[in-house]
Homo-oligomer: 254 residues x 2
């Protein structure tokens, strides 16, 4: 489109995506200059594109920078993760929370991370890092271990390459993690013991839709000593219910 492009070959769509990708959990609000730096685009170009996105409602300008606009939020509500999984799972999460008062999570695998789709927690629950829409490592969360255990072999291998230590109890030995993942497949649930945050343990089970694990359901509690069996069976009931709801809705999804 333009003659004097600094990086020929880059398309407008790619630049636009780069701008949007500049927003993340740590940077939900960015100034024009920050956007231009994070997207690695000249200020002028950023200005033009951002203006247009703002006019369209994709971004909103505030006194302290640009934020993601309502229009994009609304588009997000049309994504299958929201319309199918999250909407159907929500009542099950709430029922489970009501029975245990422990923080409940719904997550899917997004490449080599867990993407948290929903969370129900209260005042008394163990404080947790995860928020809706946030990404956490696969190897240090209950939900993550379940998803990784059921992931294709290539993904498992790739994930093993970067087992970052988060707490002293995080599993960083590939062999140890592999053994755990194999047990997840046979046992049907995964656990963590202070591997993501001190004082927080978790159990998680897979959610099946027609032979495939599409998501995982987990709880975070201070300790697993007493309640593990009870939690696992409760999670299984909920996960089974979610899976059935999923299958009975539109089936021609993939």
């Amino acid at each position: 489109m333009a003659g004097n492009t600094s990086v020929p070959g880059a398309t407008v769509v790619a630049r636009t995506i780069a701008l949007l990708a500049a927003f993340d959990e740590e940077h939900p609000r960015l100034t024009l200059t920050e956007l231009s730096q994070r997207a690695d685009l000249p200020l002028t170009t950023t200005h033009r594109l951002v203006n247009e996105l703002t006019k369209a409602g994709a971004l909103t300008r505030t006194s302290s920078g640009y934020v993601v606009g309502q229009r994009l939020w609304q588009l997000g509500t049309l994504a299958p993760v929201q319309t199918d999984l999250r909407r159907l799972a929500s009542p099950f999460l709430h029922d489970f929370y009501a029975g245990t008062l422990a923080t409940v999570h719904l997550g899917v695998r997004d490449k080599l991370k867990v993407l948290y789709l929903d969370r129900v927690s209260g005042q008394r629950s163990v404080p947790v890092v995860s928020d809706i829409g946030s990404h956490l490592p696969l190897h240090a969360t209950g939900v993550g271990k379940v998803l990784l255990a059921h992931a294709p072999e290539a993904v498992r291998r790739e994930a093993m390459k970067s087992l970052d230590r988060i707490t002293p109890y995080t599993i960083t030995q590939p062999a140890q993690l592999k053994a755990q993942l194999d047990r997840v497949l046979t046992d049907g649930y995964a656990t963590t013991y202070e591997e993501m945050s001190i004082g927080g343990c978790s159990v998680a089970v897979p959610i099946w839709q027609d032979e495939t694990v599409v998501a995982a359901l987990g709880v975070v509690v201070p300790s697993l000593k007493r309640d593990k069996v009870r939690l696992v069976s409760g999670l299984r009931v909920a996960a089974h219910g979610i899976g059935r709801s999923l299958s009975s809705r539109r089936s021609g999804t993939r």
Copy 2:
């Protein structure tokens, strides 16, 4: 960018937005051809743009068409309506629901519609049309009336021009609606009586953040005869709590 453009003056960003805007509640899944028709773009152009969006994760291709991708959903979670309003309001909605078992709604005004940000409902609740992310008319919903009453005069005038009839009880006379909106300002709450759906009445109150109405909170019940006073005071407590949470968080928002 291109010499032989059918509609000169249209930018790539505008075309891309048009493509994304082709998705809505009734059309969360579209084929390439449908996208090209709904966005009013040549098939070839659509193909190129959609391919790029898919590569970037903004859209996902399924066997039966394209859907909004995880990447866009995640971006949406960074919007202030989600991070601020919805996240802070969620516990209040749940508390209120637990106490009344009536469907609770959180909404903001988006131009001349209500945009529903959250909804908590159960099995026994009155069935309602609204879903998270959906748009409903301002004049036929409790939440909408509150938001319209507190909207700028220009918006009120504009909204008065199209008072579509939805049920036999929908208010379609501008004068009658105006009188109601004035009462909303003095009373501090709005009501509807089967104006949106038969068998459903609603009450709603504004949520204030520093002198400004930023959202509205409402319930839907089968009848208002008995419980109106109790519901209004409960809603006010919740709305006040949400408003205070909002003010105490980041203040440099606008």
